[in-house]
Amino acid sequence: MPCIEIENLTHTYFPGTPLETTALRDISLLVDRGETLALAGATGSGKSTLVRHLNGLLAPTSGRVRVLDGDLADKNFRRRLWRRVGLVFQFPERQIFSGMVYEDIAFGPRNTGLAGPALRDRVSWAAEAAGLPEELLYADPAELSGGMRRRAAIAGVLAMRPEILILDEPGAGLEPAARENILRRIIELQAEQGTTVILITHHLADAALYADRLALLEKGRLTAVGPVAEILSRPDLLDTAGLEPPFTVELTRRLAAAGITLPETPLVPIEAAKLIASLLVPGVAS
């Protein structure tokens, strides 16, 4: 069942002024409850504008957006949507404003009226869900490492128990293990809670690992949407969207150019190795 229904969405900034810019053109997209959708596109392709509609920060210029069974055209609905749709901006640790991690995470739920033991439980739960060790709750965010600060910021959004969670490059600027950790935690959480996840990423290898479907935006238009494996095996689509294919897809393409055809397009290194080994070593199962 879709929890996001976008029909012919167009968004124009500063309409009727010399600064008029159309950031989204005629987008139609359904997102199912509980699915993970990766959203990719070059800088300026409209990704941020699109997701800002989903938590009510922006309203469509034309077209219709329904989120969690409400219509964005309804101003009152739109205003309350932030409680149910969590948006984690890029470099969210820059939005940490409190001197204690606990207070930063508690801020959102406290504003919805949560207090006392219920609030404490909620903060502990969010920290755990984001993979933030309990003892760091009473630290000064400035003293945490980059990866832990990112987790603290994500915990602040998770503490609202959003039904839809939107993350803009949650792993940017983190060491590989920290990036993988954060993404894996989010996918585990999705499995536990049935949260719908929209993952904005340039890192298509991450989309291959964590998402069900992949949508590509190019200059404000939706150029492709479908199962990740299907979209990633179409290098032409990625090229026009200004995106870099995952390493294994590029490897497959280069081998094909040299006359070596793999039976299918691998999306992760271990798959690539198995496929290649099946050609090299007779008897190795592919």
Binding site: T43, G173, L174, E175, P176, L251, A273, K274, I276, V281
Partner: protein, 279 residues
């Protein structure tokens, strides 16, 4: 043979602590030779940015010495000279752009050196051309893409004709296209003899460098060719660092019983090996 004069930057038993904090860099010794392209990798919080600041003379060591072109960065009388030798590029180019037009932004540095007009123009042309922004010279910087902005930040430093560029994760805020643009510029600069010291989280970028320094909790954990560093997963794994994808595929192939030569770290190496093996 490399002699003393080939050393552009020398770290000699450097330790560093921010005021009131514990040590961030400890007993760090390494050299950067003229014309080298070096990648500096390490987990978040390992001291990479601090080391970049020390190399650029922006920070001074608590103990030990950092020498830039034979000058001690602790000697305040040579601060200006050191700034002209080593340019520092930061993560976010928006923090580094100052003027209303691309060309003026590049001219800002050399004009402040009080150079004659003809020399300023020559340097601006050289820098714009080196980063491929000559055709965008009249644009306001805020209308540039991320990759273009970062190239402009680099051009602003090149106009000072530094011997070395130190870059602190210059591509981490860019999209893949912008990242490629910046890497191409860095590669060209390195080929033409500008020394490049680049902090990065992208193992593919590190694999393209001439030498890799690995930093762990403020200490030097490895200083070797990318082939050597990336053939040591037992060193990188516990630090939360990955292998470049080509090395990962090569490792998985070995795990599948394929006899893989050591030192495969990029796509070209891997394709070459597979073509030989499969034909």
């Amino acid at each position: 043979m490399t002699g003393f004069n080939d050393y552009l930057i020398q770290f000699e038993d450097v330790s560093f602590a921010y005021p009131g904090g514990g040590p961030v860099i400890q007993d760090f010794s390494a050299v950067v030779r003229r014309g080298e392209h070096i990648a500096l990798i390490g987990p978040n919080g390992s001291g990479k940015s601090t080391l970049a600041g020390l190399a650029a003379g922006l920070l001074r060591p608590s103990t030990g010495r950092v020498m830039v072109g034979g000058m001690d960065t602790a000697d305040q009388s040579v601060t200006g000279a050191i700034r002209r030798r080593v340019g520092l590029v930061l993560q976010n180019p928006d923090n580094q752009l100052v003027a209303a037009r691309v060309e003026e932004d590049v001219a800002f540095g050399p004009e402040n050196l009080n150079l004659p007009g003809a020399e300023v123009r020559r340097r601006v042309e050289y820098a714009l051309e080196a980063v491929g922004l000559d055709r965008l010279r009249d644009r306001p910087p805020h209308l540039l893409s991320g990759g273009e902005k970062q190239r402009l930040a680099i051009a602003g430093l090149l106009a000072l004709e530094p011997a070395c560029l130190v870059l602190d994760e210059p591509t981490s805020m860019l999209d893949p296209h912008g990242r490629r643009e910046v890497l191409r510029v860095l590669k060209n600069l390195a080929v033409k003899g500008t020394t490049v010291l680049q902090v990065t989280h992208h193992m593919e970028e590190a694999a393209a460098a001439g030498r890799v320094l690995v930093l762990a909790e403020g200490r030097l954990a490895a200083d070797a060719s990318p082939q050597t560093v990336f053939s040591r997963p037992e060193l990188l794994g516990p630090l939360g660092l990955a292998l470049p994808p080509a090395a990962e595929v090569a490792g998985c192939l070995a795990g599948q019983g394929v006899n893989v030569p050591a030192g495969i770290i990029n796509l070209e190496d891997l394709v070459r090996f597979l073509c030989r093996a499969l034909k």
